[in-house]
């Protein structure tokens, strides 16, 4: 297979899958049929593009091919006749329907569906992940995930969940559900580190595109704008997040010259506009925290007092022990390690983070900065035993080995947890 053709198909998949599925669901009213026909269209591309060349407009080629598959399939079924008529009528107007993906998004995120089903369906239909990939992302077996997807589509059909963007009066309750799913989609892609999982990495770009669409449709929704700003801030650091070996580089150690300043600037403008509306929410606050990090040229200039205050606000909006822990880190930076340690102790006593490696890891860094090396070493060992990934273990081992350095060394930099870990 020609590498250029392969790249073209990959690109088309990323750009067009969700759009074509969304359109075919609208014209056929049949989710399974839509998905299968789009899949067949991509299979046809694999077969024909290497031979015939990549079409001038790959998206149009794939849409037409998928549509023809659907027509063929419906022709073979008696019940398809009425649908065929509808499809013929809609064939022309469909080009002018920019919001099919938004329609699909709101339907996937309907509150009558379980949240895990909403996420799975969004990933399958909008992002084009396979059932196996979704199963892997949510740590369930493939048959269980396949069953979940079958059931959720069945419920949409049987319960009469409408395929539409909800009317204005329903939007206030429906938008948060969509935002939550899109943020999850983004973090899913953001967490994908290696080149092998291209589709997963593209989820971040897909999530940004979808939020942009949401913002265009609902310019008065500050939380959608806040989420877009948040994603742009995170995504701006993408190139600096991994070292040559593919290991995660902490925020403090990242080469800030590799951050995308254009994207950061856009995020700042968006966030300012959203905050001016005076209706703060969790995504605006999270974006404000991210902005504190990405708008300073030197990590040493970070305004930790401001970050600590923002985490205090976030805890009130989203009560969560992980957010509390992030606040403890920020307080430790702003007011000194002893103040941070007091908050960590309180969290430890509450017990809600038991078994989570970030708690002993944070304690270890704070103890280290207080010069209490024995306690720090014990905490690092506790964190190592709980750390879920090799990357985390390598990081902790490195920190532990640095305990041997003589007093008077430059102050040890606490590793702030990656902002995207707040929701885990």
């Amino acid at each position: 297979m020609n590498a250029a053709v392969e790249a073209a198909i990959g690109e088309a998949f990323r750009l067009e899958w969700g759009r074509i599925v969304a359109t075919l669901i609208r014209v056929t009213g049949d989710w399974d049929l839509a998905e299968e026909c789009v899949q067949e269209a991509f299979a046809a591309a694999w077969e024909r593009w290497p031979r015939d060349g990549v079409p001038d407009r790959p998206g149009a080629w794939l849409t037409t091919t998928a549509r023809h598959r659907a027509i063929d399939r419906l022709r073979r079924e008696a019940v398809g006749a009425a649908k065929l008529q509808e499809m013929a009528e809609q064939a022309e107007e469909s080009r002018a329907e920019p919001d099919d993906r938004l329609r699909l998004m709101f339907t996937c995120c309907h509150p009558a569906l379980a949240v895990e089903s909403q996420v799975a369906l969004t990933l399958r239909t909008l992002a084009g992940l396979t059932t196996a990939e979704i199963a892997r992302a949510f740590l369930v077996g493939e048959p269980a995930m396949a069953k979940r997807l079958v059931r959720v589509k069945q419920k949409i059909r049987n319960a009469g969940i409408p395929y539409r963007v909800p009317p204005a009066h329903l939007l206030p309750e429906r938008v948060p559900a969509v935002l939550a799913v899109l943020y999850l989609l983004f973090t899913e892609g953001y967490a994908a580190t290696a080149g092998v999982d291209l589709v997963r990495q593209d989820l971040s770009a897909e999530a940004i595109r979808l939020v942009r669409m949401l913002v265009a449709l609902m310019p008065d929704e500050p939380e959608a704008v806040g989420l877009l700003a948040l994603m742009l801030f995170h995504d701006a650091r993408r190139a600096a997040r991994l070292d040559a070996a593919g290991d995660l580089v902490t925020l403090e150690e990242q080469d800030r010259s590799r951050w995308d300043t254009g994207q950061i600037g856009e995020g700042v403008d968006l966030l300012d506009a959203a905050l001016r509306r005076g209706r703060p929410g969790r995504y605006q606050v999270q974006a404000a925290i991210a902005a504190c990090h990405v708008t300073v040229a030197d990590a040493a200039d970070t305004d930790w007092a401001q970050i600590a205050a923002l985490y205090g606000q976030l805890v009130r909006l989203v009560p969560s022990p992980v957010v509390e822990l992030n606040r403890a880190v920020a307080v430790g930076m702003a007011a000194g390690p002893a103040a941070g340690l007091a908050l960590v102790d309180a969290l430890d006593a509450a017990g809600s983070l038991a078994g989570h490696h970030l708690l002993p890891a944070t304690r270890a860094d704070l103890l280290r900065r207080l010069g209490r090396h024995a306690g720090a070493a014990a905490a690092y060992r506790a964190a190592l035993a709980l750390a879920p990934t090799d990357t985390e273990r390598r990081y902790l081992t490195r920190r532990m080995s640095e305990l041997g350095c003589p007093p008077g060394d430059p102050p040890f930099v606490v590793r702030t947890t990656d902002p995207t870990e707040e929701d885990t």
Binding site: H110, A112, N158, A159, G160, I161, P162, P166, L170
Partner: protein
């Protein structure tokens, strides 16, 4: 689409048996939504029927003892689930009990 609204509540909901619907039924008839329905006597007055090997078996009371019991039902005709949810949420019983919205199968 047709939906069955199952008006459910625990035992304390029986206190509302004579409350009526606070005009809900009048509004839903006017909108052309409400197709029929009724309140029910308590589960203790129920008789459960089964046929096993041609014999009719009767049991006093409901088949299953559950905390939430059906106290009434309505059949509504709605455009989609969003409308059915809106209709159900306006029923006074939704504030003290719960309402299960079940799509009715069409042949």
């Amino acid at each position: 689409m047709k939906y069955l609204l199952l008006i459910c509540g625990d035992e304390s909901a029986a206190a509302h048996a004579d409350d009526g619907c606070g005009g809900w039924d009048v509004e839903m008839v006017r909108r052309g939504v409400l197709q029929g329905g009724a309140g029910l006597h308590p589960p203790a007055d129920a008789t459960t029927v089964r046929v096993r090997e041609d014999a009719v078996l009767l049991t006093d009371g409901p088949f299953a003892e559950t905390r939430e019991q059906v106290g009434g039902f309505c059949i509504v005709e709605c455009a989609d689930l969003d409308e059915a949810v809106e209709v159900a949420s306006k029923h006074p019983a939704a504030t003290y009990g719960s309402i299960e919205v079940r799509p009715i199968r069409t042949p």
